[in-house]
Amino acid sequence: MIGLVLLLVLAIGVPVFAVVAMAVLTGFLQAELEPALLIISVLELGDQVQLLAVPLMSFVAAILGRDYYLNSWILPISSMAGENSGLNPSSIAVRLLSALASGCAVGLTMVIPAVLYTAISEVAAPRHSVSAEVLLVTALIPVALVAVAAACMPGLGGRARSVFGSVSVAAERTGRPLWDLGAAILLLVAVVAGWLALLDVALVAAIWAAVTRVLVFHELSWQQLTDKAVRAAVTSAGVLLVVGLSLAWAAILHDAGTLQALSDGIGRGTGQTLAFLLVASLLLVAGGFVFGLQIGVVLIAPLIVPVGLSLGVDALGLGVMCLVGVLLGRGSLALVRAPLPEGGGPTS
């Protein structure tokens, strides 16, 4: 009943942070805990230094453009791969290159969800937390495969090209995204090799984006750079406030054993695990569709991590599922919003 009321409150447009706060306060009152403890998780938000990656990567996104890597590389390249049907050598080469480029390009897009998932899972399941770097690297393979597989579906390829074709043409003319792809590949290699943590990657990416756009390409003035920094900071502050409140939510779910009781009720077995994975996947895709990558992870992860772990699902696997699920949801939103190409031909 309370859940339905909260969903209704969410649907009428109450900000997400307020809805999460209401959920947590209700949980605290039901568990007869001191509601003031809610504020502790907000006060301790700053202690999770890794979360600094969120405003930094938002800054990168503000400079390069929203969903820059998705728009400039993943969908256009995947669209090309979709056009090269058949199993001739050139088609196979294009598809392999698509997988490589998409995986590298999407890597930076996934830094924020990986950091957020790690922060949430450390509270929701303290004994099963995974490193954000390992999670990101592991998630790259299915993400690249998903991007290429999606591109091979005729309808998706045509829509993607109609939306992102102009960006792709701009990329060919200027060659600048090549620089950015090179930087993304270097940064991801550094993460895979263990030379850099995700916070380092976010710092380097932010400095890279600012220096190249202001000093090398002269696309932005210092005033514009400052405006973008303010916009990124304000946007990510909203996300991090939800994170702070969600940490309390994850803690109360963990401490009260609510989800443990739920998973005990579900029982254990292959059928139950498969049913859980199906429901969790649908929740994640819906979360990514409605809330986007960041809020989607923050809201759904505290729910599914404890249940999944109690059913014997691997913690790293759950993290990968979270990242891929919200990415699919976000990508679906982009495709739904996209107009169909003129003439109706999906890939013509």
Partner: protein
Amino acid sequence: MTRDVHDSAGQANDPTGKLIAALESGSVACLFAMVVLVALVKQVGSHFGGLPVGWADDAISALLLWLVMVGSAVAAGRLGHYRVRVIESLFPTGVAVVLMRLSFLTAAVVSLVLAWYGLRAVLLELEFGRVVLDRVPLWAIYVIVPAAFAVMAARFLAFGLAPSPVFRLREDKGSGR
């Protein structure tokens, strides 16, 4: 096509509104620059060694908390907090405006409750008297939490009770989050 409440552009037309907007942007920009700078010093220091960066973690924690809270207060004034706009887009303008007022008033009440609990936490910290960064009292860092929530409550309340012209609905392609 989605409809959206016109943001606070109206208040930026008067000198006071412009001054407040400039102060807000300046504060956020300064906090962002400071936290980036401190993080850079810390990461370089820890990777290459030789630099005493033990203070950096405390400084980043404090700056990150301030950035989040000040940014959240600014976001409240610009209607920048994440919201789902499912129902309001399905109803006629009159009903949508009522729903928006209701959502803002709800957010104001929740923010006020959070400000109250934040104030209690600060008062508790005042009794403990803990310090960070050698001599900075912890309550002085935490005080931003109730202050920011109070500002957010005031702003949401203002949106919720604002006269109708403020709720000009505009048609805007793809503006919803």
